[in-house]
């Protein structure tokens, strides 16, 4: 199928990524290879292979190129957010919502790539060890050479993750969505296990892969049941069939239930989240950051598609709302409780990410209750998408600060953060802001999203309370249980402050093991500073209004 010019423009960022993947494969192999024409003595250059040119042999090339590619894709997604609209074939539909999502994905991946250029640096000066080198020295040299060798692999995988996520958001068809998710997920499994020489990396990758493939298999089984029931996998058709269904068809319900398991794994909802903390802790911080933000956003898009778009009835409650509410409460409580005693900052952030998933699931459950008006429902969805957007700022930001520590081989223990404020006040300050934003402290953007979410849930449920009750207790008894989801979020937020603030505490009040400042890591450091600024900027005033406007427009096209 040849794309028309308009269609190409529509998916320009994705095309850039495809081009990037192709270039990543080709470019590092460009050399001075020549081929002798048969039977002649003429040798014509074919450029693939041979001795590589100085430029193409540079190990830093893939990293730089990928950063450039992601920057372009990020930029074009942003430019198209307001205008994007159109379909390609039967499977891709580009809307403002999908563009906003790809904007989020590319932003997260871009930041992760920038961080990786420092986390897994390509060293031009790397050489093979000599006999005279000490053992430690030659080990270091070998690992530098290995890092050089696998630069291309890493960045190709990153681009595949981006491509998969973005296509997934655009798909209008369960099957295409599944393929896209798998494209992103399979690449992500490898990325988790990428530092396989480290003990935790390989194990984490394997576990994540095994549990993930079980979830995927469950999901695709669910899809096949849905296909059996409706005879189609297109979202619109499914939605129509669902609303024309008199009573719940067991086939359809089982299918959707099984899909919930798969997507529950993606958003790390309890009890499918168990592999996630292992995976986050085992992978490098930038990759963990991507899993916690972009991958989570992808899971929620899938949930939106299935739960809101297909199975949400016009009137009354959806069959899954009690179920989702229970999952949400278990998820957030589990995440926060487990984070309390985590001594590994990455694991702690992983559990915090589980808790955040719980908050968002609670919001979806409130929508599913069918109590609210369509405006109130839309407001909750806006809150969720807003939260997914700004999560890239502070959740990923926190992982990037951990990357700064990882560069010097630490970040697996709380004590690696000790005294960060005296070693590197800028980074400690940023981490402080990120933690406060995660905890939802005003006026940071994390507060705004949480507030919108709680406010939305309260809006949906409060109308059900007895209006004649003049005291709070009788009213609380009469109100729909959905109201208690908001209370659960509030209580859990209070609980979560404990471990977020502990990070701040050790950063500012403990003595560091060494007083050496962190590596300068110019671009990474400045990215973190920009994220810190944006975390504040999008929390209040015109910044918040702008982003909320963007999200509102996007959600209206969902």
């Amino acid at each position: 199928m040849i794309l028309s010019y308009e269609e190409m423009e529509l998916i320009l960022p994705e095309l850039i990524l495809v081009l990037g993947i192709i270039l990543s494969i080709l470019l590092p192999n460009v050399g001075d290879a020549k081929m002798r024409l048969p039977l002649t003595r003429m040798r014509i250059p074919i450029f693939i292979g041979g001795t590589r040119f100085k430029l193409t042999a540079d190990p830093r090339l893939p990293g730089r190129m990928t950063v450039a590619i992601f920057s372009l894709a990020f930029l074009f997604s942003f430019l198209e957010i307001k205008s994007a609209s159109g379909t390609i074939g039967d499977v891709i539909e580009v809307t403002q919502f999908t563009r906003l999502m790809s904007f989020i994905f590319y932003g997260a991946l871009l930041l992760a790539c920038i961080a990786t250029t420092y986390r897994m640096p390509a060293k031009v000066t790397a050489r093979a060890p000599k006999d005279s080198d000490s053992e430690a020295r030659s080990n270091a040299l070998i690992s530098a050479l290995m890092d050089n060798r696998r630069q291309v692999d890493f960045y190709i995988l990153m681009m595949m993750v981006g491509l998969g996520m973005s296509l997934m958001a655009m798909s209008t068809n369960l099957f295409f969505m599944f393929v896209s998710i798998e494209l992103a997920s399979l690449a992500a499994y490898i990325l988790v296990a990428f530092h396989k020489e480290e003990a935790t990396g390989g194990e984490a990758g394997a576990k994540y892969f095994i549990v993930g493939s079980v979830a995927s298999a469950t999901g695709i089984y669910g899809m096949s049941l849905v296909y059996l029931w409706a005879g189609d996998l297109d979202f619109d058709t499914l939605s129509n069939s669902w609303s024309s269904m008199d009573s719940l068809d067991p086939l359809a319900v089982i299918g959707v239930g099984l899909m919930l398991v798969a997507f529950g794994f993606k958003v790390s909802a309890a009890p499918f989240h168990l592999a996630a903390p292992d995976a986050y802790a085992g992978s490098s911080s930038p990759v963990a950051g991507v899993l916690a933000t972009a991958s989570k956003a992808m899971g929620f898009v899938a949930l939106f598609r299935v739960l809101i778009q297909i199975t949400m009835p016009e009137e009354g409650d959806a069959f899954w709302y009690v179920l989702l509410a229970i999952i949400a409460i278990i998820t957030m409580t589990w995440g926060n409780l487990a984070a309390l005693t985590s001594r590994n900052p990455k694991r702690m952030l992983a559990y915090s990410s589980v808790a955040h998933a719980g908050y968002m699931l609670a919001a979806i459950a409130a929508v599913g209750s069918g109590l609210g008006s369509s405006e109130a429902n839309e407001m909750v969805l806006i809150a969720i998408v807003f939260h997914l957007t700004i999560l890239v700022l502070f959740k990923l930001g926190a992982f990037l600060v951990l990357s700064m520590l990882e560069i010097e081989g630490r970040s697996h223990q709380l004590k690696d953060l000790h005294g960060l404020a005296s070693r590197d006040p800028m980074m400690a300050g940023s981490m402080f802001i990120f933690m406060l934003a995660l905890a939802g402290v005003p006026p940071l953007s994390g507060f705004l999203s949480k507030l919108l979410m709680i406010n939305g849930i309260v809006n949906i449920s409060a109308g059900t309370g007895s209006s004649s009750a003049d005291a709070i207790l009788p009213w609380a008894e009469s109100v729909d249980p959905v109201f208690w989801l908001a209370i659960a979020i509030v209580i859990n937020s209070a609980l979560s402050l404990f471990y977020y603030l502990r990070i701040c505490l050790v950063m500012f009040f403990e003595e560091p093991e060494s007083s050496k400042p962190l590596r300068s890591a110019y671009f990474l450091r400045n990215s973190i500073i920009v994220l810190t600024f944006l975390t504040v900027f999008f929390g209040i005033g015109s910044g918040a209004e702008y982003l909320l406007g963007l999200v509102t427009d996007a959600v209206s096209t969902m």
Partner: protein, 764 residues
Amino acid sequence: MGENKQEWDRLLYIIPFLLVVPYLYLTNENSTDYWWLIIASPFIFFFIIAIVGQIWNKHNFWVNNLKEGGVLGLGALSLSLSTSIWMICDYLSDHGHVETGEPLSWLSFDVLTYGDDSWSIATSGFSGIGFGIYLDSLSIMLLFVATFLCFLICWFAIGYMTTDSINDNSNHRFFAEFVLFSMGMFGMVLADNFLWLFIFWEIMGLCSYLLIGFYYWKPSAAYAAKKAFLTTRVGDVFLMIGLLMLYDIYGSLDFAVVFDHPDTGVGGVAVDSAELQTALLMLFIGAVGKSAQFPLHVWLPDAMEGPTPVSALIHAATMVNAGLYLVARMVPFVDIHHHGVAGMEELGLIVAWIGGITAFMAAAIAFVQNDIKKVLAYSTMSQLAYIFTGLGATLWLFNSGKHHAGALVFGGSLFHLFNHAMAKGMLFMASGSVIHEVHHAHDHLHHHGDDDHDFDPQDMRNMGGLASKLPVTATAMMFGSMSIIGIPLIGGFWSKEVIIAKTWYAYFHGAEELIGPALLLLATAGMTGFYMSRMWFMTFAGEPKNQLVDHVHETTPWIKTPLVILSIITAIGGFGLALYGMVDWLSGEENHLSIHKATFLKQVIYELDHAFLPDDLKLRYVGWTTIFLSFIIGPVMAARIYGGALKEGEKATPVIHWLTSLSGKFGSQNVDEIANSQLADALQNRLYFDDLYEGILARTIIPFSNFTAWFDRTVIDGVIKQIESNSVLGSVQIRKVTTGSARDYILMAAVGALSIFALIWGVN
């Protein structure tokens, strides 16, 4: 000279800042569109100086060329100053009110409201608070005072702070806080809304705390900072209550709304005078705290622990005027000619009494102070109290329908605010110059092995005979003191005369309760003459009391220039502005500053006639008594006790030389007996106010605090700890599920999947 030239080169850095306003002017921009420059420029430079200073600390360029941020601060303040002068010029040529400003939109989102027996979603219940500016002659005058003095004192501070080794590379902290304070002051003056006024008021309070505690390693400085902060906090609580009450009455805190018809509250209801009076009294308590009036005055003398430029700026020239500004803003409420609320005479009386008591008490305490800055601090309290009394009389006169007299004393009070700010700012800078040079001389001697740790460079008993060593400072201080004393024709005379005369006028015309303040002010006038002269004579006249005086000399041009500029303003500014009708302009009676008589000479004669020979015979007696007390009795007594000619052969400027030798001619008087009396002792101990407060606190607040601390530790912390330990327990349990084995994870997922189906079936 070469070195001086190099110092002047530093000023080149502020040229870009000075070019902004001419550029905007030439492009035909409207000055009121750029009011935000006044606030934004110091605010931005607060961050720049604080951050860059941290990064570039000890960097050669930063220390020597940018004076550790001082030059940047000066630049930012020069931009504020030039913008405000531009605005003032526009205002003076256009006249009339200016209210402008876009409401700064705050967060707005849907909120849940309960009304009409049901819950409903209301969009945006809170539309935001707009920040705009409110310009009238009062705010224009204060804006000029604030920008001008901030600029000059920053200039002075560059010389004072950066040559002091004790500051040890932390001057960027000083300058950052200095410009932040300036922003607070500018914002407070410009704000068109009581809420913003309060916000900036608190910013100033914070900066005052930080700057008093600048030498935080000194326990006395840390204590003084804490005391200043907490004492003003007492006032601020009342201020906030007052603001809430005002909001309750008017439904808004915008000046434009509130001042429009102060007699009709929200919903067109007539305002209850008792309620409004209570609200205004609450505001007044806030003002009392900020302006260090009895009984919340205890913090100001201790605040002198801060660096001298801080004393000059915050605790003499600008921040303490905030309270006066607030009280001056109450005038529309009581002005019954313009929809004011009748029946609030008590308010004016209370303000006047507080002022009178403070004026007298502070002057009395100033008699016995030997620390040059403490004398000035008490003098500040006393002079501010004058203005409070004037404003009290204003409120009374306005409320009892004597509009003309009220306007006159209102203008006079504000004019005194202006004169006092200029003079007192300069006096503090001059005292800073003295302290700085004495300190250097001491360091110089100390260097030669004369070790003396107890030496206090602020103690006037170590000085004497400095007139020949510090000619510029001595002249400046002379003019400043004359202005404060109210020597005829110099600065403060023109305003002080109005205040005293009109307070008596109010007494003669029905306010019998004002006899107290009126008498106290009269007595204070003479006392002012005494203690200010005493300070000057002790410092500059007579024989040197310490050998180090020989080593004192004026050094840096950073210190001298502001003194010269302010000396000129203090000496002739009062008369000059009085000629141009400053009093009527400030009270809003006139729209222009201009000469009203046909010729300049006629105007001069009219003003002099008016000041010395008023029509009302009673007021003529009052006026001449004031002059007699302040000009003759006070200074002559001081000269008898403390005066004396300079040492033989010492050269000073002719006027100073004449003044010192004159002071020696009144003979001398031994005051040991009085100095050892119980009264002197009580004055030394500041009339035991501090002891009283500490005693009360020790008996009331501290036991209560101990109880709450116990409650917090055992009950609240206990509950929290219990929750925490339970949570941790739960956490440990729940993490046991995370075994680390993929098999278990899949098992859990399967359990989850089965529960999903169970739930679906259970529910549906």
